[in-house]
C-alpha cells in the first residue's frame, strides 16, 4: 500500500492531529522529511524499530511519536 492509493486518515503525531495518506510508519516518517534523519519512533506507546517501520500499518487515531536527540540532565 502506498501513499496516493490510500484514503486520508487522521492520526496523532507528536501530540498533534495530522491528516495523512501514509499507509505505514515508514511512509509517515518520509512524508515529514525525516526518512534519513536520526529519529526514533513509537506507535501507541510501543517502540517501533527503524527496520520495522515499513511493516507497521497506520490506522485512524493511532498515536505516533517521532523523537530525536536533545539536551538532557
Amino acid at each position: 500500500m502506498t501513499a496516493g492509493t490510500r484514503e486520508v486518515v487522521t492520526i496523532m503525531v507528536n501530540g498533534e492531529p495530522v491528516m495523512t495518506s501514509a499507509g505505514t510508519l515508514a511512509e509517515l516518517v518520509a512524508e515529514r522529511g525525516l526518512a534519513d534523519a536520526k529519529v526514533a519512533t513509537a506507535r501507541n506507546g510501543t517502540f517501533v524499530a527503524e527496520r520495522d517501520r515499513a511493516g507497521t500499518m497506520l490506522f485512524f487515531d493511532d498515536h505516533i511519536e517521532i523523537v530525536s536527540p536533545r539536551h538532557g540532565g
Binding site: L34, P69, G73
Partner: protein, 272 residues
Amino acid sequence: MNAPEPTAKAKSALTLYGDALPSRMLIGTAQYPSPQVLAKAVEASGAGIVTVSLRREQARGRTGERFLELIGALGVRVLPNTAGCHTVKEAVTTAQMAREVFGTDWIKLEVIANDDTLQPEVFGLVEAAGILNADGFKVLPYTTEDLSVAERLLGSGCKVLMPWGAPIGTGRGLANPYALKSMRAYYPGIPLIVDAGIGAPSHAAQAMELGFDGVLLNTAVAKAGDPVRMAEAFARAIDAGRLAYESGLMGVRDMAEPSTPVAGTPFFDLDR
C-alpha cells in the same frame, strides 16, 4: 575513622558496568546559554559521561542531528535519560528509542512520581528496571536513598544506583546525609552516584567525602554566572572530596581538644 584505609582500588578510576571512566563527575547537557558554552563546560569538567534526552522532532526538523554533532565532537560517553516519563511503559519505550538513536544500551532510568518534586516513582522504577535489565540494558536508576528500593533495584539486575541528593533542579545539596551515609555503608561494593539536587561544589565534595563514587549534576553548572569556570570548580571539589574520603577523615568530637601539646605550656599552673 569514617572511611576505610585507602586502597589501590579506591584510588582507581570510576568503573561503571565494566567501563573505566576518566572522572567521577557526570554532567548534564541542558540549559546552557549556548552550544559553545556547553562544549567548553563539559571539557572543563573533565567528565567522561554526559546525559542526554529524546524530544519530539518536528517535520523536516534537524534539531536532533545538530545536537548529535555537537555531542559527538566532545568525545565522551552519552547517557540517555528517560526524563519526564511518569509510567513504566513511557520509560521503557523511551529507553528503547534512546538505544536505537544514541547507539548505547546505557540508560539513566527516571520514572517521575510528581511534577512539583520530581521525586522517583519507586514502584514503577523497580518494574521498569526489571524489564530493561532483562532486555539487555545497563540501567543507572535515579532513585531515593531508601534501602528497600535499592534492594529491589539491585535484585532486578542494576549494577549502579543513583540516589538523589535533593529534588532535581533545587540546588539544595544533600537533604538527607544520614540516609546517604547509611546507603554507602550498606553497599560498600556497589557504585553509588549522587544524582540531582547539587547546587554548589561544597555539596559535591560532601557527597564524595561520604564515600560516594561519583556525582551527576547539570543545573548548578549550566545556570552559573560562568558555567565553564563552575564546571572546573566542581571537578576540583569532587577530586578533593574523593581524596579526603580515601585519606580517612578524622572523627567528630563533642568537646574541644587542644592541638598544641599541653605538656610544657608556659605559665601552666595546676590550680588554674
